[in-house]
Amino acid sequence: MTITVTLNGKRITDDVAPDLLLYDWLRQKGCLSVKCGCETTNCGLCTVHVDGKPTLSCAMLAVRADKKTVTTLEGLQEEAIEFGGFMADEGAEQCGFCNPGFIMNVLAMKEEPDVYTWTDRQIKEYLEGNLCRCTGYAGHLRAIRRYLAARQEGMK
């Protein structure tokens, strides 16, 4: 089946099998930040943005991405480096395995209305679908708090 996808700003037309997962297709296209961690749609490691919404690419068929805009970490390098810096400062990058999916979901979260007024609980709930095998989410939360504060400061 033929699909046309805008992947990281580039329009791509391709022939895909009807049961090919978006995750597999993205890796075929060189987006190696996208990984499959759990196979049960629980860990969030494969998170990409589809038309701006955080989406589990391990649970979406590539054919369903037809005529859509898909963004992976490779397409958001500037923003990822910015937030990644806050994670590193707080020691939250740890082993790094979950970082691509986690960063993609944080970058989606920052577009939510009123995110700058969110409580810690709201942030944690938004990110519940991202599991870190090193655990210790305290550093992640500190990094997000500092990142949001810096962004808000930059808006003034």
Binding site: M1, P18, D19, L21, E39, T40, T41, N42, G44, T47, K53, P54, T55, L56, C58, A59, M60, L61, V63, R64, N105, A108, M109, E125, Y126, L127, E128, G129, N130
Partner: protein, 261 residues
Amino acid sequence: MFTAGNYVVAKSLEEAYQLNQKKTAGILGGMLWMRTGKRRYSTLIDLSALGLDGIKETENELVIGAMVPLRELETNETLRTYYGDAFLEAVRHIVGTQFRHMATVGGSLFGRYGFSDVATIFLALDCTVELYHAGEVPIETFLAQKPDRDVLVAVHLKKTPCKVCYQSQRITETDFPVLTCAVSRQESGWVFAIGARPSIAKRIENTLPYAPTAEEIAAFVAHADETLSFDSNMRGSEEYRRHLTRVFVRRAIGQLMEETR
């Protein structure tokens, strides 16, 4: 992961229905539960081009399309106006934000999953399920039926004034629930739905007056325990589920009486 020979974006409900009459065909909802299976589908049917992904308000009801994602139930302002935080509370524990952007109302209901928070909340409300072939059927009738080859089009929520309380118990935050409980209080009386028993949600036959006394509440809690069936699984025992039901029903009655005081 399943495999598939063909994929069709249906252009009409009639086309989707006809394609789905073949037993080896399957309709794609959010695909999240389906993805964990190993079935071979001859044709996957996608309803996403049929405009079923919105919540429409009419004079008497809210029409929730089958392809509305759970995240929309969580954040939709119209639902919040009529039902407070009940829908948010019902779906916020389901895996994660990305998952809820994908999982659909239709997929959650059509599978009649025992663990379904979505089935529990709708069962406590005045609503019907619109099927393409069978037409509108009451939600309790729909949930009691085995899945067939029909196509779920929408859920029709009547704008019956009510207060709703939703509770669930989980071993860990985003796990399947051990028990779910949704209660609504309408002028015509109370509606109680208990899910994750661990089988599909069921209503408790209501014997509670609109403004019950403490004795009537105690009698109803005992009645709920006696009339519903429960079972054990790896998440909890039958006895634990009975205990949770007594606690949740009592709490919900107290909360809703307080809210409407």
